[in-house]
């Protein structure tokens, strides 16, 4: 059963007929081939599917695609403009804040909202901010450092 929805995806206005039983995550991956957001737990515990919906970080596995009517969605793919990486993406690379990379898109989208809301977070606030995102390989130290670097650049 399909329903037509209108929304903004990475800055582009989209009209799309989507299966009502698809989550936002599934629609992004299967219908738009935006495979940055990942399914980890599918239950709101790991944050690997985090995208930005109307300026807020949400788990795209816990949102039905039909619920985003009228909303603005930004995925990790939308952070790169004309091939130029977002400062957070640069910083994750420069600081080796990823290993397998599965958690990285979600981690960066969460950090993006965190820095939008609070451009100068303390280390504690960064840890608190990414507490809804799990990483199972690199560990959190380098991830926190990568976000801190961008926050420090904000200060300059």
């Amino acid at each position: 059963m399909k329903k037509v929805i209108n929304f903004t995806l990475n800055g582009e206005v989209v009209e799309h007929a989507v299966d009502t039983n698809k989550t936002l995550l599934k629609m992004l991956r299967e219908d738009f081939e935006l495979t940055g957001a990942k399914e980890g737990c599918g239950a709101g515990e790991c944050g690997a599917c985090t995208v930005i919906m109307n300026e807020k970080a949400v788990n795209s596995c816990l949102v039905l695609a039909v619920e985003i009517e009228g909303a603005s969605i930004t995925t990790i793919e939308g952070l790169t403009l004309d091939g130029i990486l977002d400062p957070l993406q640069e910083s994750f690379i420069d600081n080796a804040a990823l290993q397998c990379g599965y958690c990285t898109p979600g981690m960066i989208m969460t950090a993006k909202v965190l820095l939008n809301e609070n451009p100068h977070p303390t280390e504690e606030e960064i840890k608190e901010g990414i507490s809804g995102n799990l990483c199972r390989c690199t560990g959190y130290k380098k991830i926190v450092e990568a976000i801190e670097k961008v926050a420090n650049d904000n200060e300059e």
Binding site: N21, T23, G42, A57, L62, V63, E67, S131, G132
Partner: protein, 275 residues
């Protein structure tokens, strides 16, 4: 997830009509952080999904006519970060921000947490201790149910099919309160045991989650404490009474005896703040 028909009514009347017309195979969708997981796992399999978030005025959090009102679609983050709530009822704000992750709280609602009626519902203990009232809308109009009567059993409430909870409210009150959540990990975890203790002059309201089939008020312990000056001895007696008043079970998170022990530790720590 099986196929279903999706509705997004913009008025309560419209929503109720769809629920009544479609019958038991229709589910109410609010924040969705519980329902969508249950649908994915095949535990819930609705043929019709009625999204109530587009209904006007449902996401309000307001203080008027001496009452604090939390609308059905108000997000946990909106409640937790509301400045009036933080100032006057910091324990309620703390409870809201203790649930799930920031991403989850950007979708999950206070009312959804209550309507799920989990024994460990994070929003239940502060609202029970505030003597909250649940506002329900049905084809008969509006009705109120006291939150303490609302919970019937594990995941069962007095809510009938064809009814929608429009919000929850409590009387404005000058009180002190302590919310405590014990969990295996500090963030993004369910409560092993949670509690709220509210003090209003020499009256104490004590509520616990995850120690009985529903979140509960400890009436005997409250009656014992009423009108008494807190002392070390009184607090110890209250803690003993509280342990005898709960009926926890052993599960994946903790044993029955550990939970019972937590009850007295949490109550002692809460009451000791005012002694």
């Amino acid at each position: 997830m099986n196929a279903f028909e999706y509705f997004a009514p913009t008025t309560l009347k419209e929503a109720i009509d769809i629920l009544n017309e479609k019958g038991e195979e229709a589910s109410i969708l609010n924040g969705g952080t519980d329902l969508i997981v249950r649908m994915r796992d095949g535990i819930s399999d609705p043929k019709y999904v009625v999204d109530i978030k587009k209904i006007k005025g449902m996401d309000d959090i307001r203080i008027e006519n001496g009452r604090v009102f939390i609308g059905a679609s108000a997000l946990l983050n909106d409640l937790g970060n509301n400045q009036d709530i933080q100032k006057r009822y910091p324990f309620l704000s703390k409870a809201a921000l203790s649930i799930g992750s920031k991403q989850v709280r950007n979708r999950a609602t206070c009312i959804g947490n209550i309507c799920n009626a989990s024994p460990l519902a994070g929003m239940a203990t502060p609202l029970l201790a505030l003597n909250a009232t649940v506002h329900v809308f049905g084809n008969y109009g509006e009705k109120d149910i006291l939150l303490k009567d609302f919970f019937v059993f594990v995941r069962k409430t007095l809510l009938k099919h064809g009814e929608i909870v429009t919000g929850i409210s409590f009387e404005e009150q000058a009180c002190l309160g302590v919310f405590t959540k014990i969990s295996r990990r500090r963030k993004v975890d369910l409560s092993t045991v949670c509690s709220t203790v509210v003090k209003k002059y020499d009256e104490y309201r004590i509520s616990f989650g995850a120690v009985a089939p529903t979140p509960v008020r400890l009436n005997k312990t409250e009656a014992f404490l009423k009108g008494k000056m807190l002392s070390k001895d009184i607090i110890e007696k209250a803690c003993e009474l509280a342990m005898s008043e709960v009926s926890p079970i052993s599960d994946i998170r903790a044993s029955e005896s550990y939970r019972r022990e937590l009850v007295q530790v949490m109550l002692r720590n809460s009451l000791s703040q005012w002694y």
